[in-house]
């Protein structure tokens, strides 16, 4: 296959940099044959549809149990059954595993077996109006009670005014009024009579009374008065002054008489109202005989109505009252408001305990809130404005919440804990709690709380809460830990097939044929990143089935085939692999320098993995090592520039330990080495490249070139054992994609840790290339195995005399380090001498 121009230029550059004694491997060089290579069967465990005895999933029964979540299911059952305080549940696990669905299903299965909780309503508190009373009624009873109270108020509206319209009342009222006015009239009449005896008239003026001397039937005119002798004038004036004082005394008595009349009137009103009201309320009291709270409330209503009968009378005729042109509510109507019932929770028709999921768990949505209404520019509220929260709705049952949402809502977490700890719901607006608002507010009577809360969140949240919130452990004693995957045993493929069948039926999807099921199982295994496991990430699986159904339906198929499943996998990748393609393109164009042929010392292809959204991919990187005489330090350039994460740095430091321990146990390590991920401009984390870095270092020390047709992944310990890493499939495929685009030579392959072999579930095209012998995967257990594959030179073991055989990599490395140590020794002696002289001088 002709190579693209950029690669050739890049190769010239690479070859130009080779040391003179480096060996070169031709493009068509024979592959490494001395080491074990994995077979196609070892790099992927395919599910064989011929093993299934069904044709489509339509023939399979539903799977009743939840697959692979036995531990979580036991925890849920325990948590639900445990009625003690603090046994709330925290369902943890990764997103998409189906935690919420499973929890909800379990709770919904349990809920009908429990009693339906009582209804709750808030009513006016006649003793302390700012503390509305909470009334508990049997399920479905609150709505009826509200109706009964509405009817009572309607009846009162008619009965009370009717009582006041009665002839009896009017007669008695007139009697009281007449008594008062007669008393007043008699007092003034007495004065009038005595004044008349002295020729003085008592006149009604516009605002009161006045005394004036009389002439005939009328009042003496001023002229007539002035015509009187002065003595007579004086007599009149004095007499009038006396009468005025007397009248004042009488008028001063009037308020007392009026109060007396009013008292009599109130008593009359009470008598009349009592007669009208008692019949109505007693009937209700009898109906609610068994509910003490309600009975007490009705007794209070009875007294209150009698006390305020005046307000229950029909509004007076005339213009409606206004305030600056705004209509004001009638006093009677405003007053009747207090007999309303605020139905907070109604369980009418519910068969068992409630299961509530609160999607927006704000402080107010959890514990309820108190609304205010604007009245003439002022915010006012009363017990009818108390609104229920999720705790009220779930009381007596179960409440499911997203832990992260609760934690990210201001004060919601504290409110949740407070309610669980106090086992009561204190409804209080946040503004009031924080003293942010200063307006009329309420303190509703708390409602007893009996609820099982299930928080759903990621494991990290669970552990963080446990570590930082001392109350968390007390309140959430049941951890429900969901698995991401299930062990792939002999029966698991069939169970998995039944789970797929159940999912397809629930989602109303086309049935899958056996090959499609096998393909989904392969996908499940690949998602788990393990040939011995199957993923139980239900969201991902359901999405795959939905997308496969779409492609099958688009093609007019009646069943989902393996091709449809494959197409949905491929199109998913296609939709999200833009960055991966751009990256590969950079390699193809020679912008990013990665060799897939030839040899070079101190240079190796490392493999990295990136995750962007839900798509992860592997990519080769050039890792280089340079050495010189120095003070025994391996410099990780990534770390020096703060691009390397702590685990990456740890991996590099382990290399120093390995080199010093193996090659220079009894002499100073006079080596200065630098390691770098070439053309890497972002942060690097993880130790999966530490074996590659070690190979580069050993190659540089032994001056032995490494095959560039191979890429390496795996971490290494201080003894030189190669250890497992994550993302092995993506990494192998990443290098394969680059090699394939350049043309597979048959010499290319990847060294993977032997302990990762069971995780290999490679893509079909990679498996096919391995089967055809055009690509290889080498399991490597030790650094010695790896270096032999990469160099074609034996690593060498120490003989009886403790020396490595000549010509081996280890021999060359040790010899180079001895040379460095010898050359470095005089300098170290001089430095030590200088330091000693310095001390003496001091």
């Amino acid at each position: 296959m002709p190579e693209p121009m950029p690669r050739r230029e890049w190769e010239c550059e690479a070859q130009g940099a080779l040391p003179p004694n480096a060996r070169r491997e031709s493009v068509n060089a024979a592959p490494v044959t001395s080491s074990r290579r994995l077979t196609a069967a070892e790099v992927s465990r395919r599910c064989d549809p011929r093993g299934f005895d069904f044709r489509t999933t339509g023939e399979l029964e539903d799977l009743p149990q939840v697959l692979g979540q036995e531990r979580a299911m036991h925890a849920i059952q325990f948590g639900i059954g445990m009625a003690r305080e603090g046994y709330n549940l925290f369902a943890m696990g990764p997103e998409g595993v189906g935690r919420r669905t499973i929890v909800r299903r379990c709770l919904e299965a349990q809920a009908p077996r429990r009693d339906t909780p009582p209804d709750w309503c808030y009513v006016f508190n006649f003793e302390t109006p700012h503390r509305p009373r909470a009334l508990r009624l049997p399920a479905g009873g609150a709505a009826k009670f509200r109706q009964d109270m509405t009817r009572l108020v309607d009846d009162l509206r008619v009965a009370v005014p009717a009582a006041f319209e009665s002839e009896e009342y009017r007669a008695r009222l007139r009697e009281i009024e007449t008594e008062f006015s007669e008393r007043q009239d008699q007092a003034t009449a007495a004065i009038r009579e005595r004044a008349g005896g002295k020729g003085i008239a008592l006149l009604r003026t516009p605002a009161g009374f006045g005394f004036a001397p009389m002439r005939g039937n009328g009042v003496m005119s001023p002229d007539e008065f002035h015509a009187l002798p002065e003595v007579e004038q004086k007599q009149f004036e004095e007499a009038i002054a006396v009468f005025q004082e007397e009248l004042e005394r009488v008028i001063h008595e009037t308020p007392r008489w009026r109060r007396e009349a009013q008292r009599k009137l109130r008593e009359l009103n009470r008598q009349v109202t009592r007669a009208a009201v008692n019949g109505l309320i007693e009937e209700l009291k009898a109906e609610y005989e068994s509910l003490q709270q309600v009975r007490e409330y009705l007794a209070q209503v009875q007294e209150d109505v009698i006390d305020h009968a005046e307000l229950l009378r029909q509004p007076k005729d005339g213009e409606p009252s206004t305030f600056f042109g705004l209509p004001l509510p009638e006093a009677g109507e405003t007053f009747l408001h207090r007999y309303k019932v605020n139905l907070l929770i109604d369980h009418a028709g519910a068969g068992g305990a409630p299961v509530v999921y609160e999607d927006h768990p704000t402080h107010d949505n959890l514990i309820g809130h108190i609304e205010h209404v604007n009245q003439m520019g002022t915010l006012v509220t009363d017990f009818t404005h108390i609104k229920p929260g999720a705790f009220h709705r779930a009381n007596g049952g179960y409440l499911i919440l997203d832990a992260l949402k609760v934690l990210s809502q201001p004060f919601a977490w504290e409110a949740l804990k407070r309610a669980l700890r106090a086992r009561e719901i204190h409804t209080e607006s946040l503004g009031q709690t924080l003293s942010l608002i200063s307006t009329v507010s309420l303190q509703p009577e708390p409602i007893p709380l009996d609820v099982k809360v299930v928080l759903v969140g990621q494991r990290m949240l669970y552990y963080l809460l446990h570590a930082y919130d001392p109350e968390f452990g007390e309140l959430f004693k049941v951890g429900v830990d969901f698995e991401e995957d299930l062990r792939r045993g002999p029966q698991s493929d069939l169970f998995y097939a039944r789970m797929i069948a159940t999912l397809a039926r629930n989602e109303k999807l086309l049935p899958l044929d056996a090959a499609a099921v096998a393909r989904v199982i392969d996908y499940g295994s690949r998602s788990a990143g393990d040939t011995e496991k199957l993923s139980v990430m239900m969201r991902d699986l359901a999405d795959l089935l939905r997308e496969s159904d779409y492609w099958a339906a688009s093609a007019g198929n009646k069943e989902i085939s393996a091709g449809d499943v494959q197409r949905s996998i491929d199109t998913r990748i296609e939709r999200s692999d833009r960055i991966c393609r751009r990256y590969r393109e950079q390699i193809m164009r020679g912008t990013l320098l990665v060799s897939t042929t030839g040899e070079r010392s101190g240079q190796v292809n490392g493999l990295s993995m990136a995750q962007l959204g839900e798509f992860s991919f592997g990519m080769p990187h050039r890792i280089t090592a340079r050495i010189r005489l120095g003070a025994g330090k391996v410099v990780d350039i990534e770390r020096e520039v703060a691009l390397g994460g702590p685990i990456h740095s740890k991996g590099v430091l382990i290399l120093s330990g390995f080199i010093a321990g193996r090659y220079a146990p009894a002499r100073p390590l006079s080596l200065a080495a630098s390691l770098v991920f070439e053309q890497s401009y972002g942060s690097v984390e993880g130790d999966s490249a530490s074996s590659a870095e070690l190979y580069a270092l050993l190659s540089a020390l032994s001056d032995t070139p490494l095959r560039q047709s191979l890429a390496v992944t795996g971490s290494v310990n201080q003894h030189g054992d190669v250890q497992a890493i994550g993302g092995v499939n993506e990494k192998v495929e990443g290098f394969f994609d680059v090699c394939r685009e350049r043309g597979l030579t048959g010499a290319q392959g990847v060294l993977v840790p032997a302990s990762n072999v069971s995780h290999l579930m490679l893509r079909r095209d990679v498996v096919e290339a391995i089967e055809a012998g055009t690509f290889h995967v080498y399991p490597v257990a030790t650094v010695d195995e790896g270096i032999e594959i990469l160099t074609g030179v034996p690593a060498g073991e120490r003989d009886m005399s403790g020396r490595f055989p000549a010509g081996t990599i280890n021999f060359m490395v040790e010899r180079r380090l001895s040379e460095f140590a010898e050359r470095g020794q005089p300098r170290a002696d001089v430095a030590a001498k200088k330091a000693g002289q310095g001390r003496r001088r001091r």
Binding site: L203, A207, Q244, E248, I251
Partner: protein, 182 residues
């Protein structure tokens, strides 16, 4: 029986409303003209002219110095208020109405204008204190039957007198509630 003109004596303001409403209703039903008469009581003006005139407040029992000017101002205000109330009551009912102010003794002035009316409604205490008027018949409030009989007899001016506005209004309403036409 035909009532063409009804005269209503108006004095202290707030308690007038019920009486006025009843009179307006009667005038509407009888298609008669309603005349409101406000009498500025001459006795009050004489009283105010006295050097030691003091008004003792109804509720406060405080003494207030009175003079003629103040009393006239007070009476004018009351007259205006009475007129406003008459207008507010009669106009929406589409009843023809007029308003007069007279000065003198209330019964005398009422009876002076009564000659060109069929029915005079007057609030006077005691009702028997009305001076005699030739050709006029006085019916006391509370006796709607007698009032109807007198209206049907049509023997000159009819005076409905009472000591209480509400009482007079009630008599008028009883008359109106009867089915027979006026």
């Amino acid at each position: 029986m035909k009532i063409r003109r009804i005269i209503v004596g108006l004095d202290s303001v707030p308690s007038n409303r019920a009486l006025l409403e009843a009179a307006v209703e009667l005038a509407g039903k009888a298609e008669a003209e309603l005349v409101g008469l406000f009498v500025e009581n001459i006795d009050l003006l004489h009283f105010a002219g006295l050097p030691f005139a003091r008004e003792v407040g109804f509720a406060s029992a405080t003494r207030r110095v009175m003079d003629v000017e103040a009393m006239e101002r007070c009476l004018r205000a009351l007259a205006k208020e009475a007129q406003r109330m008459l207008e507010a009551t009669a106009a929406p009912a589409s009843v023809r109405w007029s308003f007069r102010v007279a000065r003198g003794s209330a019964p005398a002035e009422l009876l002076a204008v009564a000659r060109d009316a069929d029915l005079v409604v007057v609030n006077i205490a005691p009702p028997g204190a009305l001076p005699p008027l030739a050709g006029a018949r006085v019916v006391l409030a509370g006796d709607a039957g007698q009032l109807r009989a007198a209206l049907q007899a049509q023997e000159g001016v009819l005076v409905l007198a009472g000591a209480d506005h509400a009482h007079i209004a009630e008599t008028l309403r009883t008359l109106l509630s009867e089915e027979e036409p006026l």
